[in-house]
Symmetry: C2
Subunit: 493 residues, 2 copies
């Protein structure tokens, strides 16, 4: 039976589009899914650079696993725990898991703060953590303020079911997208003028998509603002263990202890996960760490809807408790992330393409502003479709991160091997060089016309009906020029 009559049959949540997955931003994923690159079997396919996944150090975890069979309840060494673990359903989680996780969270933050195992609440990944926190902190119609650019799926996590609005705090490239108090105050007051109740400020630190860390002063400013205005500060720190260069990562946990006298800790909440720092998204390990007792209690009850498998808790409890391994893993992972970041950004520099100076995360924030037809979101999306369909790289356009400045792209580079990375770089360089060549030709032609015209301004030499020359101008100045006749974009236009 067709679902055409589902309108009134289902809920507003189900009938609406709040999950965001029907947005055009998923076109890149579809392109990848239809034609995925493989170095050997499909070297002409689309390379997935839209996925913030860490594949660089999983070999270390695999090795650890094999040398620690007692960490699995499915080995002779661990089987004595099978029944206890399979049957374990306390939503507090295995005590050894919470203890190891608290210790590890302290380690990732440089050992400067101590986390309390009793405040560790499990959730189904960071996705589940944000959904749960939103249900705990705000009512439908309330708002979070979020500095731009920000992770697109916050819309799904915070808005879809909990009904929160996300209001942007506008940040700009002029200061490296640093969040300022002025921008925060402006967003806050704008919301209040509209009659919207602001219940929280949601940040990612390290930032996704920027790949930068937030400085201590900004964090202290945020905590002080939260205290002053009695709004929550939700800090997504899921890349805390993926900082690979200076400046060091500073956690809100450290800042509220040292830098914000009088801070109201009831307003401070951290989301964490092992999906990024360990490259274990399949294991669905999300953590809510709140300084508010009532939020801990409520989120723990809600965790019934998305607990971590006890089989996985048990394995991770053993691994996270292995101090020697954890120190080695974090150091080696940072080394590999740094090497990959350098390989990628140096490769782009060869053709004059810059990225925002990042020191964290699994991606770079690539600046293609110079390649836009004009400074509009439409031009960004036009360029993006060329990159997907012609260059065959699934990167993510800045507009999908609510960036207010067209021409930035998030490019993930930790979810592939070096060879694939090199293919991707070759493709980008080839694309940029073609563009530059065409652009230079265009400029030369324009200069020639200019000279030939005797520098008479305003005189345009368009042929009758405007056709060929206008098309030629477009062809030279726009990435569309690089498209083959087979391009779906060409067909569409």
């Amino acid at each position: 039976m067709a679902s055409g009559g589902n309108g009134l049959l289902l809920s507003r949540v189900a009938s609406g589009d709040g999950h965001g997955e029907n947005s055009s931003y998923f076109d890149g994923w579809k392109a990848y899914d239809m034609n995925p690159f493989d170095l050997h079997s499909n070297s002409d396919g689309v390379i997935q650079m839209g996925l913030a996944e860490n594949q660089l150090s999983l070999d270390l975890i695999e090795e650890w696993s094999l040398s620690h069979p007692e960490a699995s309840i499915c080995t002779p060494q661990g089987a004595s725990q099978f029944r206890r673990i399979a049957n374990f359903q306390d939503y507090h989680g295995l005590p050894e898991f919470r203890e190891a996780m608290a210790k590890f969270m302290g380690r990732v933050r440089g050992g400067k703060v101590v986390f309390d195992p009793d405040r560790i609440v499990m959730s189904g990944g960071a996705t589940g953590a944000q959904d749960t926190l939103a249900f705990c902190l705000a009512d439908p119609g309330d708002a979070y303020l979020v500095p731009t650019p920000y992770y697109p799926a916050f819309d799904r996590d915070c808005c879809w079911r909990p009904g929160i609005k996300l209001l942007p705090i506008e940040c700009h490239s002029s200061n490296g997208f640093t969040l300022t108090r002025e921008a925060l105050v402006s967003a806050y007051e704008g919301a209040r003028r509209q009659g919207t109740r602001v219940k929280g400020i949601l940040i990612t630190n390290p930032s996704n998509p920027l790949g930068t860390v937030m400085d201590r002063g900004t964090l202290a400013m945020l905590a002080a603002f939260a205290t002053e205005h009695r709004v929550h500060l939700i800090c997504d720190e899921i890349y805390a263990g993926s900082v690979f260069a200076k400046p060091e990562f500073v956690s809100i946990a450290e800042v509220i202890e040292r830098d914000v006298p009088g801070c109201n800790r009831d307003l401070i909440h951290i989301a964490y996960s092992l999906s990024k720092d360990f490259g274990l998204p399949g294991f669905r390990v999300g953590i809510i760490y709140s300084y508010n007792d009532a939020v801990v209690a409520c989120a723990r009850k809600m965790s019934s809807f998305g607990l971590v498998s006890s089989q996985t808790q048990y394995f991770l409890a053993k691994m996270l408790a292995d101090d020697e391994f954890m120190a080695r893993f974090l150091a080696e992972s940072a080394r590999r992330l740094a090497a990959r970041h350098e390989r990628f950004t140096a490769g782009l520099r060869e053709v004059g393409i810059a990225c925002l100076g990042g020191n964290a995360g699994l991606f770079s924030w690539m600046d293609l502003r110079s390649m836009l037809r004009d400074k509009t979101p439409e031009a960004e999306l036009e360029l993006w479709r060329v990159i997907i369909n012609q260059v065959k790289l699934n990167v993510s356009p800045g507009t999908s991160f609510h960036c207010n400045e067209p021409g930035w792209f998030r490019v993930c580079h930790a979810n592939m091997d070096d060879e694939t990375m090199d293919v991707a770089l070759d493709r980008i360089r080839c694309f940029v060089r073609k563009y530059q060549t065409n652009n230079n030709k265009r400029k030369a032609a324009a200069a020639e016309r200019w000279a030939a015209s005797g520098a008479r301004p305003l005189r345009l030499s368009l042929p009758r009906r405007g056709g060929a020359a206008a098309a030629s101008h477009l062809a030279l100045s726009s990435p569309l020029a690089l498209m083959s006749p087979q391009s779906p974009m060409v067909h569409a236009s």
Copy 2:
């Protein structure tokens, strides 16, 4: 910092009590937690009979696991899959997991229906399945009709965050708590009269807490009613594989194919889980199976908030696909459940205590109506507190299942070994015998007084101020009489 000021700080969901865990019904759990029985180290502790957990056949799964090391990604035999699985984050789930699960769901239902792997949606246990379905099917303020008695945590799953109301369809012991069309219509019309929009009928089949299966005719009546009134029919079948005697289990999946011409399948949804049939609650495997394409699509997107760990998916995919083992496991598990059920109910029959005739589940629905002081919920709770505090068994009172007839108790008996079961039975029998002895004495004394009084009706021989004799009557007729002076109940009264 105290959370006293959290009132406006947190959401209404967090500030309210909708999760139900502050109810007095958790006193039994608290009593158990404070003093848990252990056959060797704490033989005077409270025995947990409030937990519907299946510990009877885990040894078979443990054995299977040890003889199938390839099912674990943490063994040399399975390690080649570690990276793929750890990194796997497609919310459709591992294809092999969905296929094995679909096949297994068919097997559990007697091989009479085929389940489509593409309709298998993962959730964080059955808890997550109901939460997700509620978000998909109804808006806040809408209602589900639910036959009584019903699983208490449906309130948490359907009402807490999705905001659905649960309205009872009253069932009675006179026909073995069978759901009738008259009761359904009455509940439906009652809701409509109140202006409440009924969006669904929620059933558990096999029933928790009754331990009975629903007959084909009732299921067909429900599906026809749903079609006629355009309301959803949500069938929680998490005990489908725990039916241990005739009559056979009939799934709604079978009924809508064979017994309901014109059935609108867009209205039919099944919740399943491996927590009960396999005794794997720690693994957090919930399944939503919907015949409505839009619900499948929406629930799958929501499953991001509570996916099953890929480590666990991988293990279960291998196990569920082992046809020989699955057939053997289900047969042996049913045999053990039947033996345990017989041991328990026969033990009760020795002292004249009956249970509702059940053939499924991990519990019995015990009839202690004859032991109530009077036919009120208060009297049931009074008796319950004696059972918890004096008999030291954490059983669950019928009122917590919204049963409208006081005196029934759900007693779980699959979460312990035979020795513990025997201790529990001894305690119940001893308690009942004391009660019967006291009750007989009371009756004899009353008869004596009656005879001595010359059978003059209406003449009461209460002493002045009503004290001693009234107390003595209470002492003889009420379970309170069995309490020691140390009882918290005595202190409370």
